[in-house]
């Protein structure tokens, strides 16, 4: 498993999710803290492409052997792509939570929501 890391170029939601914003779209996933708490991920149930997600609401579930967690959307929008590779190798979420462990890409409906997210330093200071 990777060491604890929280890339500076990402924005963070207190429910342990991150967003990488690129113009009108954002890539979303869960943080190192979340995957560490879950243990080895065995199943990721993605939403459908085309469906809408709302900031602060769960949009998917991620399962380890002994636990299920809601994945919370840090920002709202329409799903334009899901990471199909996770169906065969869900452990990517543990090994590379910010890279190959990305979950969905959304077309943002309200980019100003980024103001509700925090930077890496603030997020990690809230972890205890």
């Amino acid at each position: 498993m990777a060491d604890a890391s929280y890339p500076e170029d990402l924005l963070y939601h207190p429910e342990h999710d991150w967003a990488r914003i690129d113009g009108e779209t954002a890539t979303l996933g869960i943080t190192w803290f979340a995957q560490d708490a879950l243990g080895e991920v065995v199943f990721f149930d993605p939403p459908e492409v085309g469906s809408t997600i709302t900031a602060g609401e769960p949009y998917a579930e991620v399962e380890s052997v002994k636990a299920v967690s809601d994945v919370i959307a840090p920002m709202s929008g329409e799903i334009v792509e899901v990471n199909g590779a996770l169906a065969d190798t869900p452990e990517k979420i543990n090994e590379d939570p910010y890279g190959e462990g990305w979950m969905v890409k959304v077309k943002l409906s309200d980019p100003s929501e980024r103001d509700n997210l925090t930077d890496a330093a603030t997020y990690t200071s809230q972890l205890s």
Partner: protein, 439 residues
């Protein structure tokens, strides 16, 4: 021990933890305890006042059947290592139980030709209701369409569960002993959550499940087609996985389990791959240990109540592991060809019985559909009274239904001689009752 705890008496343990206001303060109003031999005598006395399959030649069926239970099942189920452990939460010391579950799942999957099976549910009718819950969680709809050919207990149980989670049950009538195909197709629509059929149905008739499933899918592609099957009949009947059935459930008692006045037995529950993560109950999976040894564990536990809690696929915790062990041992004991031979034997003897009985005066077939091991007769006399007369002669002719219907079941323990005796006794009983009416 009290010193180690730091209290003066056992009483103090309770005085300090249970408020005086709710203390019972008197002995339980129950008889005093008895020595082992006296308990045995009492239980034997109670047993003596029951007429079991040992005491009469019985043709009772309707969901549970007097098949022969091989002696090795008694022996294996009596072994401490199978009888007394808990659910396998520590797999390293439960490989026996877990491998049995895996083998059982394989056997049920083979029998039903459906790829996914769980490790058992309680019994038949609640398995039907469980399938309804699965469908409800899968497509969110609120209407169940159920053939009137389902066992009355299954229909009743389905309704009870459905009322809980907010679904209604619409019944499709039978016509000439089979689910009315036109009524079935008409009843199923876009709002249908699941459609249920029993095979063979409650009156023993072999349904055209393939046609019914196709009709259901045509009218409602997302509805779940549920088939409730007799496991012994599956020895020769086309399996549900080849008939378009999505979920197959059934009463497992005929597979190596005693009658036991209705339980414990087990329910089997199998489905297509699509419903793997919606399955209720325990599932065992194959894996390896750190040294590369082949082993088995409970898997996909995140479906279950102890993890998923309010979002679980069911609330099942304790299932029927010991009874499922009997099931897989029985299927191994019958073997690939034995199960077929058994079912063929039943097919022939059932036909013989139906022919012989319908040749009697005052006895007609309720329907003439193909049957495998059970059939329904229409009597020209009150069925309940006919049954009572037959029992006086040491023969239980079957289940009296409504006023004048008799449901007759055949197992391999009912020989030709037994069937001939039934014919004799039933004929006399019907004649006597008809006379009594006219007298």
């Amino acid at each position: 021990m009290l010193d180690a705890i730091g209290v003066g008496s056992i009483e103090e343990l309770f005085d300090r933890q249970i408020p005086a206001a709710v203390r019972l303060g008197r002995p339980l109003d129950l008889p005093a305890g008895m020595a082992e031999q006296d308990v045995y005598a009492h239980l034997r006395e109670l047993a003596a006042r029951n007429t079991s399959a040992e005491d009469e030649i019985t043709f009772l069926g309707a969901g549970m059947y007097d098949h022969y239970v091989p002696a090795i099942i008694d022996m294996l189920l009596g072994r401490s290592e199978f009888l007394t452990p808990y659910t396998p939460y520590q797999p390293e010391v439960s490989q026996g139980s877990l491998q049995v579950m895996f083998e059982y799942q394989t056997a049920i999957s083979e029998l039903t030709a459906l790829p996914v099976s769980n490790a058992s549910v309680y019994e038949g009718p609640s398995a039907v209701a469980s399938a309804g819950y699965l469908a409800r969680l899968a497509n969110g709809r609120s209407r169940f369409v159920a053939s009137a050919g389902l066992h009355p207990h299954s229909l009743d149980t389905l309704r009870t569960y459905a009322r809980g989670f907010g679904a209604e049950v619409v019944e499709v009538p039978l016509a000439d002993g089979l689910t009315d195909p036109a009524a079935w197709a008409a009843a199923i629509g876009e709002d249908t959550c699941a459609a249920f059929v029993q095979q063979p149905n409650f009156l023993g008739a072999v349904e055209d499940v393939e046609a019914l499933a196709a009709a259901a899918k045509e009218a409602a592609p997302d509805a779940v087609v549920v088939g409730a099957y007799d496991p012994i009949a599956l020895g020769i009947l086309k399996p549900p996985g080849e008939c378009g059935v999505d979920v197959c459930v059934g009463e497992g008692q005929p597979l190596g389990n005693r009658l036991d006045f209705g339980g414990p037995s087990f329910g089997f529950f199998a489905a297509t791959e699509a419903y793997l993560r919606r399955m209720p109950g325990r599932i065992a999976g194959e894996t390896t240990d750190v040294d590369g040894r082949r082993g088995f564990v409970l898997t996909l536990q995140t479906r279950e109540q102890h993890i998923r809690r309010e979002k679980a696929t069911s609330n099942i915790c304790t299932a029927q592991a010991l009874n499922a062990l009997a099931g897989v041992v029985y299927l191994s004991w019958l073997g690939r060809h034995g199960l077929v031979e058994l079912a063929e034997l039943l097919l022939q003897r059932t036909h013989y019985a139906r022919e012989a009985l319908t040749a009697l005066d005052g006895v007609e077939a309720l329907h003439s559909q193909p049957v495998v091991r059970e059939f329904a007769l229409k009597l020209s006399a009150p069925a309940g009274k006919v049954v009572a007369r037959c029992q006086e002669q040491g023969v239980n002719p079957g289940l009296a239904l409504d006023d004048d219907v008799l449901l007759v079941a055949i197992t391999e323990q009912r020989s030709r001689a037994d069937i001939d005796r039934l014919t004799e006794v039933l004929g006399a009983a019907v004649a006597a009752e008809r006379e009594a009416v006219h007298a």
